[in-house]
Amino acid sequence: MPEYKRPSSLMPMATGYCPGCMHALATRLVADVIDELNQADNAINVVSVGCSALNLYSWHGDVIGAAHGRAPAVATGIKRCLPERLVFTYQGDGDLAAIGLAEIMSAANRGENFTVVFANNQTYGMTGGQMAPTTLIGQKTTTTRFGRDPQTTGYPLKMCELISVLEAPVFVARYALNSPKGVSDAKKGIKKAFEMQLAGKGFTFVELLTNCPTNWGMSPLDTLEYMNTNTIPYFQPGVYKDAEAAK
């Protein structure tokens, strides 16, 4: 029968995230996988700016903070200097898909051998719920009070689709964390990405669809249904590129 113990890669304290925030769930999944792979002493967590960076308070291991959106550039330097370490960035959508868009695309295009864990909650959580590049059409935020209008603000950025058309990345996948199956699949995806990195295969990218109960203005349980009806139809979960499966 399955059993579960709190991963040793997390500090023995509650996270700084709001109740029901899936950033905490995503952080815990990464910690679970690192424990399963016995990499707790070998992993380096690179965070930049936003709610995603709050995971450094609960991370029991090496962490480095990068400038806003620049985690892939910092991770590139670390991985090139310390190729035997397991290096991953943990970034949100405002960080990765807006200010950090150049860094992520360049790192992916170079095929740097590290993993990006991208938590996409379709809003800027830390600064008060402004529109992010990934905000859905019609979604209300503090800067799109009547819902996002593509006439003036364009369409939500699909990062997995963008990165999967590049030549160099070896694993690109998207998972939704609003159901046990999605969480279970996400865990397998993160594990696969880390294993490919440890085998020296190249750039791996895992997008996790998450929620923001505080800035979406709903209870944690209501966000689960909102994700089913709004987020998942637009950001389709699935494996977008897998170099191992293509062989």
Partner: protein, 67 residues
């Protein structure tokens, strides 16, 4: 058999929603941090499937194998 750490739990209710045996419910008492937290109302029915722990954002639930 599950153990819920009330000091870590923030009362989001994911474990209650996804428990396939419906053996969890939100308790009436608050933790020291002021959150309501789930209680196990039927320990015997727990199959140790660990779905509650899988969905817990705070890793507040630990699951022991069923004997």
């Amino acid at each position: 058999m599950i153990t819920i750490n009330s000091m870590m739990c923030k009362g989001c209710g994911y474990c209650i929603k996804f428990c396939p045996k419906h053996i969890l419910e939100m308790g009436k008492e608050r933790s020291e941090k002021g959150h309501f937290y789930p209680v196990n109302i039927n320990t015997d029915a727990c199959t140790s499937c660990a779905i509650c722990a899988l969905m817990c954002p705070e890793a507040a639930i630990e699951v022991a194998a069923k004997n």
